[in-house]
């Protein structure tokens, strides 16, 4: 058992496995997405207070969840890569970062689009919005640092330290922004007092979150395959792959 599982920590064996998994996760993403959109647009009732505009929640919440979850996953893989010096884990962290940044941006963007009709403003300096913005900055820092270092192994390790420092800082930043916000008496809008949700809304939201999760897996695996090919291009197993034959 252990031989089989550890085998996939090597790019040579993980590459074909990832190739086999991508279609499955893509199909799951499509199915969950179709179910989520159907529930979100046709089944879920119109909100009594917010009208039709609230339907942006179906993408917004999932994107926010994924942006945070991906950062944790990224830091986890980066930490494993740093401590056990496993190449695959670091590649996985690198592959996850752009998708995480995309979700952080998407979360902010959809939040702004939602906020304008609901609160009458694109942006409030609420703790959650501000932390999400800072999370986006952390992602961008990670990507920029790795892009600036030419040598892949050094880029992996430097990125890993930054990701781990970021993970320690995320709760500190969240609470500092939260206390700052309450002390300022700034925004009068509270995001926490959401009206209790209908079951179908919740189900639709979960479906969309699963869709985004599966999408993340598929895209990260695609990206990690490209990274593997790029880094291992001089190795024997890459030369023997059917897709690189002239």
């Amino acid at each position: 058992m252990s031989v089989i599982t550890w085998k996939y920590a090597s790019p040579q064996y993980f590459y074909p496995l990832a190739g086999k998994m991508i279609p499955w996760f893509s199909v799951l993403a499509l199915l969950f997405g179709a179910a989520g959109l159907w529930l979100g647009f046709f089944v879920a009732p119109t909100d009594a207070q917010q009208g039709e505009g609230y339907r942006i929640i179906f993408i917004h919440v999932g994107a926010s969840w994924m942006s945070m979850f991906i950062y944790l996953t990224m830091a986890f893989w980066a930490g494993i890569g740093l401590s056990f010096n496993t190449r695959m884990s670091s590649m996985m962290a690198t592959a996850l970062a752009p998708t995480g940044a995309m979700f952080a941006f998407l979360s902010l963007w959809t939040g702004a689009l939602w906020g304008k009709p609901m609160w009458g403003t694109w942006w409030v300096w609420d703790a959650r919005l501000t932390s999400e913005l800072i999370l986006l900055f952390l992602y961008l820092g990670f990507i920029a640092l790795q892009a600036a270092i030419d040598e892949p192994r050094r880029a992996d390790k430097a990125g890993a330290i930054l990701a781990l420092v970021g993970v320690v800082n995320v709760p500190i930043i969240y609470f500092s922004v939260k206390w700052w916000n309450t002390l300022h008496q700034g925004a009068s809008v509270s995001l926490t007092q959401a009206p209790s949700m209908a079951k179908t809304m919740l189900l639709g939201m979960l479906m969309m979150a699963l869709c985004l999760w599966m999408y993340t897996l598929a895209v990260a695996l695609m990206r990690v395959r490209v990274i593997m090919l790029e880094r291992e291009r001089h190795s024997e197993w890459v030369a023997q792959l059917p897709e690189v034959q002239p």
Partner: protein
């Protein structure tokens, strides 16, 4: 072998001596702080009520930027001439030497900001009490900036475009320091009392004193590989 304190003071003395030989670098970030703080009234207007309100934030952001500007010389020169490699090879733990360098950086780049801040605060018409809180908050906050900044400086050592990159890495991490530092002065002005903010700032400083040299050392070892 020297004891830990001896090593620490030796590194601090050496770095201070190097800094004294290149005074212009030290003064540049100090003048940067003064100029940035003086620009705001020119851009916003000289209404004293408004200035008094924005003073804590403006002074703190200016201090943050000034501290960040000086980060590049924390390790870059020693890295370029090989001193850092010798430090890593020495029998003394690298973490101790790094702590000494960070301390020296604070003496050179942080402490002058603390000392000149009351003068800038006067331009913003802060009360003597608020000035005192400003000094205390900077006294607790600027070492925090040096400690967190050291991680960014070590990560970007010898990296293309390191100067700009270090700001992208460290500025988000500076946010808690900014919030509690500026918040302390603001809370004092509004009569809430600054004790809570200052305690949190001190807590952050304690955390950073423990973790930041460690992370910086790990980053330096990667850069030296």
């Amino acid at each position: 072998m020297m004891n830990a304190f001896g090593v620490l003071s030796a590194v601090v003395r050496r770095d201070l001596l190097v800094a004294l030989r290149r005074k212009s670098e030290v003064l540049t970030s100090l003048f940067f702080f003064v100029i940035v703080a003086s620009l705001f009234p020119l851009g916003i207007g000289s209404e004293m009520d408004l200035l008094r309100k924005i003073a804590p934030g403006v002074l703190w952001v200016a201090a943050l930027l000034a501290a960040m500007l000086s980060l590049n010389r924390l390790f870059a020169n020693d890295y370029a001439d090989g001193t850092l490699e010798q430090m890593a090879l020495s029998p003394v733990p690298l973490g101790l030497l790094v702590t000494g360098k960070i301390l020296a950086h604070w003496f050179v780049a942080g402490l002058p900001l603390v000392l000149i801040a009351p003068m800038l605060g006067l331009q913003y018409d802060l009360s003597p009490r608020a000035l005192m809180v400003l000094v205390i908050s900077l006294l607790l906050g600027t070492p925090l900036l040096s400690l967190i900044g050291a991680i960014g400086a070590a990560l970007t050592l010898g990296v293309r475009g390191g100067g700009v990159l270090v700001s992208l890495l460290t500025l988000p991490l500076y946010i808690p320091a900014l919030i509690f530092g500026a918040g302390a002065v603001e809370a004092d002005i509004s009569g809430l009392g600054a004790a809570g903010h200052l305690s949190l700032l001190a807590a952050l400083l304690t955390l950073a004193v423990f973790f930041a040299p460690w992370a910086t050392t790990a980053a330096l070892k990667i850069a030296l590989e």
